[in-house]
């Protein structure tokens, strides 16, 4: 496995077992996620891929009782250590959800939301970061003349790119994407995948997808999960052309899932 600059991976789970309300969802998953690359997590429904991604920014905790065994390292530090500032953690890790969920505010205010809650209020600074984020999400040209309109006037694909821009506004180090294209039409999907390719030169991207072709198109590394266990993790080209595990091969060729 190659690693990015430095000795440690951007994110690494070590023997991570995750319990949702006493129900064990992940079994001892050890997965390294390198910086400035796209890692895809694939697997059949219920295999735990959403749980895995939510364990990285600790967002699962807001609704349920969870228990964690093992570690999740971010820049080498375990984020489940007692005393970790979860708010700060989430500022540095961005997330895009399966169904686009813009706030019922204007397009501008959606992108500026993250900035405002972290204390940035100067109009000029907000303007420039909002513009840059929308450009990065390939949405600027489409909305630059209607920034004060409601975000709900955008199409599904545009809303999802708005959510990407909203996450990018904080310039996070990592971007988590939980099936970002599953609610989009083919055009929206294509645009989003283009954006992901552009973003990976600046960010570490972890993307969960049930669409294997998408994983093959978009990612550098792929991890295959089944029933909460990490079955195989390798370069994407290797996984899809020469899988080492029979289960992986069966899933990829469509024999189950």
């Amino acid at each position: 496995m190659e690693s990015s600059a430095g000795n440690s991976y951007k994110i690494e789970t070590r023997s991570l077992s995750y319990y949702y309300e006493d129900h064990k969802v992940l079994h001892s998953v050890s997965l390294p996620i390198p910086d400035k690359k796209v890692t895809a997590v694939i697997g059949p429904s219920g295999c735990g891929k959403s749980t895995l991604i939510k364990s990285v920014n600790r967002i699962g905790e807001i609704t349920s009782q969870i228990k964690v065994e093992g570690e999740v390292l971010f820049n080498g530090e375990n984020i489940y250590r007692p005393g970790v500032d979860v708010v700060e953690l989430r500022r540095r890790i961005g997330m895009v959800f399966q169904k686009p969920n813009p706030f019922p505010k204007s397009i501008y205010e959606n992108v500026a939301f993250g900035l405002r809650i972290h204390g940035i209020t100067g109009k000029e600074q907000l303007d420039s970061i909002v513009e840059q984020s929308l450009r990065q999400a390939a949405l600027w040209d489409e909305v630059k003349d209607r920034l004060s309109e409601s975000a709900f006037k955008l199409s599904g694909g545009q809303q999802q790119r708005l959510c990407i821009a909203r996450a990018l506004a904080l310039d996070p180090e990592v971007i988590l994407m939980d099936e970002p294209c599953s609610a989009l039409d083919p055009t929206g999907t294509a645009r989003t995948e283009e954006t992901i390719q552009v973003l990976k030169s600046d960010y570490c991207i972890l993307i969960v997808t049930h669409n294997m072709q998408q994983a093959a198109r978009v990612s550098d590394y792929t991890a295959f999960l089944n029933l909460g266990r990490l079955i195989e993790h390798d370069l994407t080209t290797n996984i899809f052309t020469n899988p080492k595990n029979k289960l992986t091969e069966d899933y990829i060729t469509g024999r189950f899932g």
Binding site: R90, R92, N101, F103, A167
Partner: protein, 310 residues
Amino acid sequence: MKCKRQLSGMIFEWTARSFTLISMIALITILGVLFLKGSQVITWEFLTSEPLDGMTRGGIFPAIFGTISVTLLMIILALPLGVASAIYLVEYAGTGFLARTIRAAVNNLAGVPSIVFGLFGVGFFILFLGRNIDKVLQTGLLFGQPAMLWAAATLSILVLPVVIVSTEEAIRAVPLSHREAAYALGATKFQVISRVVLPQSLPGILTGAILSVSRGAGETAPILFTGCAYFLPRLPVVTIPYLNIPMINPLDQFMELSYHLFIMATQSIDAQATRPIQYGTAFVLITLTFLLNLSAISLRIYFRRRHKRR
């Protein structure tokens, strides 16, 4: 055979339909009688002048003013308390023992008879709290007697469940996805509440506030002995020294529409002579409460439709 079953079914259905109609006819009759007999008395002067000649002539302006004042004071007391309670209940309390106890207390409060609130208002607010405040502040008998403040306080605990329940409903209606998005951006719990949840809940909270005001204006038993008077020579207004601004004086007694109607109907010297004014008062009161209720219901429908469009 089948015809007989269908026939009896139809008869029963018609009976049910007519029961519903009876209720609606009762409502329309009430409104009709009030309108017919009450509107005769309604003039601009009626609404803006004082009662004269033992309530046989003149108007009911002081009662209107008093009703508005006391419900205003009531909502100032009840709204922040109720909204904060609801926020705590939904966002912080979870499902444990404390949450269930608070909810049980709110449900119980909603079922307390209105005269018991009146009793509590006299025994606790006026005689206990008021007299003790007087003792501590050495103000003689200022707080320890019937006053708008205590009437408003009594009304506010009566409407508290209305505020709490509608606020809770409004907060819960905010979808989880919006909260998740905010948390994922690194917002603290209070930031999520103040910047995402509350702004979206405002319509529901407003509806609850309007319903509370309507309820407060219509209740009589809680204020019978906690601050109302049948006739006062002047309005419960005081001018703040130095600033020279008139302000409602919460330590004054006040006249109020429902109380006025009650006393006129049961204790006026010549009930027949004051009857037209009774109907007029009733008409003003019901118009007020109905307008409030209707606007609350329309608000609710309007915002429900806007929500569905998303």
